[in-house]
């Protein structure tokens, strides 16, 4: 009997889900009759909220930046141990995100947790939901996805206006950059961005960096699409790519830790022309509201150094 009920329950949910999907919206928000809000996150997972959330916790540093950019900061009740931006985030209680400190989460009583795919394992999210805390995932493949993410957060939290105000301004900056650089007729600069030196890992085609470079009329030197967003490559592969610019650490550090170890790579065009630059790690690696700042940093390195 119990099992039958369970099956019935499942069917009901399935029906509800298909109804929601048929409304064909990437980010759905529907108050049901009882006042429950049903959302669908970027991974297509269904999230139910009993009311408009008033207390949120972030489990990813980039998400903390997203939340602080859009929300009333009093609604943010927890952040991760790695967060360092904005300064106001440091005043919030820490929730260790790996391994997750479940008790701390419960202590902070969030109505919803925001996180990013790849940072919070699905197992952890399932456990949090068992404990009664819904988890909302975002994932971004492009700069525009980040802006959409900001707007989604605004909608869920009742801060549409603030979110749109921010994204309008960010989009405008991106469009100006596009107009400035994409119209130019010159050969695009081919940029290789190193994420780890031993073994060598780089930004692959499926990373936001590719889009950031595209906005600036440049391109990711790694054109091949690998399974991983950050593939491991060989010295020979880099010699073949022969990038115009190599991003990683500042020249001195790269000389010591990268080219010192792989002297063969001194034959690359980037090295020969001295085009080795360091980027601000948090700007480069975090998909957040400072993405435009990150693009502007790349612009300075690519065209004004």
């Amino acid at each position: 009997m119990k099992q039958k009920l369970h099956l019935f329950d499942k069917l009901c949910w399935l029906l509800l889900l298909s109804l929601l999907l048929s409304s064909a919206c990437s980010q759905t928000e529907k108050p049901t009759e009882e006042g429950t809000i049903v959302l669908q996150d970027d991974l297509g997972r269904e999230i139910q909220l009993e009311k408009q959330p008033l207390r949120v916790v972030s489990l990813a540093s980039s998400m903390t930046e997203m939340l602080f950019a859009v929300l009333d900061t009093s609604t943010i009740v927890g952040r991760t141990q790695n967060d360092d931006y904005p300064a106001a985030a440091l005043t919030k209680p820490v929730v260790k995100n790996y391994p997750i400190d479940y008790e701390q989460v419960l202590r902070l009583k969030p109505d919803v947790i925001f996180t990013v795919e790849g940072i919070t394992p699905p197992d952890d999210a399932a456990r949090l939901e068992e404990l009664g805390v819904p988890v909302y995932y975002q994932t971004y493949a492009s700069v525009e996805d980040i802006f959409n993410g900001l707007e989604d957060i605004g909608r869920i939290m009742g801060r549409e206006e603030q979110a749109e105000h921010l994204t309008d301004s960010l989009r405008q900056q991106v469009n100006e950059l596009k107009q400035r650089y994409q119209a130019q007729q010159r050969q695009p600069l081919r940029v290789l961005a190193i994420t780890w030196k031993d073994p060598i890992y780089v930004h692959g085609q499926n990373t936001i960096l590719t889009d950031k470079l595209h906005i600036l009329g440049a391109e990711n030197a790694v054109q091949e699409v690998f399974d991983q967003p950050y593939p491991s490559i060989t010295r020979e592969y880099i010699l073949k790519l022969n990038p115009d610019v190599i991003l990683g650490d500042d020249r001195e550090k790269m000389e010591k830790e990268f080219f010192g170890q792989y002297p063969e790579l001194r034959k690359t065009k980037a090295y020969q022309q001295g085009r080795i630059y360091g980027t601000t790690d948090n700007l480069m690696s975090r998909p957040g509201p400072r993405v435009v700042e990150s693009i502007l940093e790349l612009e300075r390195l690519l065209y004004h150094e």
């Binding site: 790695n82 073994p199 010295r235 010699l239 073949k240 830790e257």
Partner: protein
Amino acid sequence: MSKLLYVTAALLLILVVLLLGLQVGSFESGIATIADAFLYYNPDNTTHFAIVHLRLPRLLLALVVGASLAFAGYLLQAMVNNGLAEPYLLGTASGASLGAVVVFFGFVESTVAGFYLPPVLAFAGAFITTLMAVMLGYRKRQLIPSQLLLAGIALSSLCTAVVGLLTFLSDSEGKLKSIIFWSMGSFERASWTLLPYPAVALLLALLLFIFYQKQLNILLLGAERAQALGLQVAQTRWVILLTVSIVTGFSVASSGPVGFVGLIIPHVTRSMMGASGRWNLLFCAFIGGLFMMLCDLLSRLIYPPVGIPIGIITSFFGVPFFVYLLSRKNYNF
């Protein structure tokens, strides 16, 4: 005579695999380009450069490391008279991993006075762990093989636990990538500056054991009988131990720990060449090198450009063969 034929065949196969391996890489290159690169080397031609400075040292490093591990495994199995022994049993691999990982976790600078430290500390870690295992295996002025191996296993677990702890506490994905390298091995870091260390160690060790071959074979009869036959068992064991530590230490420091080769190749050798023979050691080294070169080549063909971590390939291809060997009725250690 037929044994010498085996050795010659192994050597020829090494040359064939070398020629095949030189053609695999990101730059298109056939036999003609390879020949060009060696006969009319042009440093401005990046294909030539890649063949001579990246592919050749990589293949040679695989050869040297494979040969070193097989050779060290053979010596150790003879020393303890047990087919389960392998060079890493003395804690060498885990010690090396710990040494290298210490650098990646920022406890020390990664480059000091122009020296890139991970391989240096890996060698130090390997050597210190082995030394500690030897000290623990030494009792009443005698080296007790079973105690030595147990000490090695215990120290190995300890090092693995520390690496595990550091991995757990790691705050960056990149560090985990380095740990993967230092737990499964790769030949990607090969270069002409790195190659001489393991190569010279191996050559000296091979030369030494041309003279020690007889003692090694007597040791196979068991310590007591060897002693009765006038062999200085303790001294022979020390020579073996020192050789194994140095050869394994250099190979693990240059390519990370590559499992399984040190265990199976000595068995392959004995199954083909008999339990003791004058060409055994040389054949073991050649076959070990050949096997490793083939594994590296396969790993790069299956998953270009970097290749699957080499330890995975050696197990994938080594285990079925090992099972076949074990199931053969006429082979015993």
